[in-house]
Symmetry: C2
Subunit: 356 residues, 2 copies
DNA sequence: TTGTACGCGTTATCAG
DNA sequence: CTGATAACGCGTACAA
């Protein structure tokens, strides 16, 4: 312990001393005794109120209130073979867009009594596989993935668990189960069309070489051809894409002395890095070079001169995913709970700002 | 479903068909049968290997391998009255610093077989209280908080759970249990000293009015007095502090026609908003006005002309917290597991960049 | 509508 | 060192 100064921290006293935690957790039996019924009746009163007479139900509810009873989720999970946990796989929790999706998801699910457990795959198949295998033990009620599961073995494994699954972030043709995504291809096309409309002719692409970066590049390439744009340069890296990588890529581009008009960056962070580098070297954006991104991060609006980008409402995406899972979890006829291959599309829009 | 273009998504086939999930989870009994021992011996072989003879232990381990057995965490939790879940309370998952702390925490804990469950308090006492109460049901093994619990009732509740708890992000004098923090007061003083050393004399403060914002303001105020700096203006808001709020605050400051030299913003995002606004209005930073932040976000380094800021290694903070929890969880004599009031200090340093 | 008996998978206890 | 027995708290199946 160094001699650092201690902070004086706010403390807020509360009148009622809450000694509830002292006596350990309340069991259903205690509630039953208080309400003068059997434990199973308490259980029913909570799970299927209409199965219990009004008189007892009220007595029970009162006892529940008084004791602060809530059922033990582990016992419940053990009995039912299924927990109230929804597993959410995220490649990178530092991503604003993924975090927003998780917020949307957990807002919906927590309101319905489910817990969201985060698993970080860190863009690694190894970690992803490890996490997937651990699901056998946890017995989640459902699974959400910010992305599409790529390894066929993991897809099979998840499918065999027989629980609702939502993949996301792309409009894949045959999801494991359900899907809520947006069309990366459309987004890339919108950028190409925007470039064409603004009169840019010689364009470049910066992005990750795998996954969605690749999707965006493929579509961008095709659209450029159709629109008569010349795609002079593609800079792909397979590392995670942040501001420094964007800077580096732009540096490469400029260093080559290329005469590119406009650059499409497959993520906002890449685009912001590129933009900062370009301006730092005295280039005018968009005069000397136009830049567009993907994702509509907070920064896209704040940075000078404003970043043109493709926006998807990812908080909504998460909320929709949560609702799809809930719908399936709360279905009355579990027999019908076959993989429905429901697909929901989240529309994209291009937001034009100063950078193009 | 609109007519959006379907993306072609990468699929990676894998040679070995893994049919493990088909047959439902493997139970300890199956392993026992395979190894020709009783279930309890399997349990012991896994939890206390030295209690089982080498011969059987090997047979058992082989059977575990073959079946892919892993113990059911719900049954374990039910039996032991304690789960392998560590609850982590975060006020805002969109914060880069908090996310890094969570990464550090879960890297350490997951390696030791614990699961980290995130609870978002959203800077709301109500949500915090709700989450705290829900812990009774979940029976976490331990609790981590990115911040200091302020409500006395919640502090009591947590203390009474009798599990290891780590608060963080400030050097509070009497933590509920353990603490790993940095001195917000020191950080603010470092900024004041830096301003003084650079010759700035008329300074301002922008920050949140509660919690750590207040800590930083108090210390900054005192340091300014001691150093002969004139603290002309304090702009406090009680909302979450992002780039837009920083912009707004700087706008207020400039609008008043004040002749402030330098501004200390209690968070990097506020500082970046302020910086963008100042430059957007044609002010030179630091010529016309110097700006310093707190947190050392990625952006601080990237933005022009570089943001002077107070850096704390929050990933390390999370890792240290995880280790403190682990040490307590793995203590052999549970009798000694009294609230130790261990306090660890994470040093701060001022990073000077172009903005001052 | 209500209650009894039992089992979910694991591990502590105690006897061997 | 090993195994039989019981119990963790809840909810399903069945009986009343």
């Amino acid at each position: 312990m160094s001699d650092a100064t201690f902070d004086d921290v706010l403390r807020i006293a509360s009148p009622e001393a809450d000694s509830q935690a002292e006596h350990g957790p309340v069991r259903i039996e205690e509630v039953a005794r208080l309400a003068q019924v059997s434990p199973i009746t308490v259980s029913r009163a909570l799970r299927r109120p209409q199965m219990v007479s009004a008189v007892r139900r009220e007595r029970i509810m009162k006892a529940v209130e008084e004791t602060g009873y809530s059922s033990n989720p582990h016992a419940k999970a053990l009995k039912s073979g299924r927990s109230d946990i929804v597993a959410a796989f995220v490649s990178n929790i530092l991503s604003e867009q993924f975090s927003l999706a998780i917020e949307g998801l957990s807002d919906v699910l927590e309101a319905a009594g489910f817990q969201v457990a985060l698993g970080r795959t860190s863009y690694s198949y190894g970690r992803e596989t490890t996490l997937i295998r651990s699901l056998t033990a946890i017995r989640p009620a459902a699974v959400f993935i910010t992305g599409v599961m790529e390894l066929e073995s993991n897809r099979t494994f998840l499918r065999n668990m027989g629980i609702p699954i939502v993949e996301s972030w792309a409009l894949a043709r045959d999801p494991i189960d359900m899907l809520v995504g947006f069309s990366n291809a459309d987004g890339a096309r919108m950028v190409a069309e925007h470039f064409a409309a603004k009169g840019y002719r010689k364009v470049a692409f910066i992005g990750r070489s795998g996954g969605r970066g690749m999707l965006r590049l493929n579509s961008f390439t095709k659209s450029c051809e159709q629109l008569g744009l010349k795609l002079c340069r593609r800079i792909s890296r397979d590392t995670v894409s942040g501001i420094p990588e964007g800077r580096q890529a732009m540096q490469d581009l400029i260093g080559e002395g290329s005469d590119v008009d406009a650059v499409f960056c497959a993520s906002d962070l890449l685009a912001i890095g590129a933009l900062l580098e370009a301006r730092g070297r005295g280039l005018d954006v968009p005069g000397d070079i136009a830049i567009a991104g993907f994702g509509d991060s907070t920064l896209a609006e704040e940075i000078m001169p404003g970043l043109t980008t493709i926006a998807a409402d990812t908080r909504k995406l998460g909320a929709v995913a949560g609702q799809m899972l809930l719908d399936r979890l709360q279905e009355t006829q579990p027999e019908e709970t076959q993989a429905g291959h429901a697909i929901r599309n989240i529309p994209l829009r291009l937001i034009e700002r100063g950078s193009t």
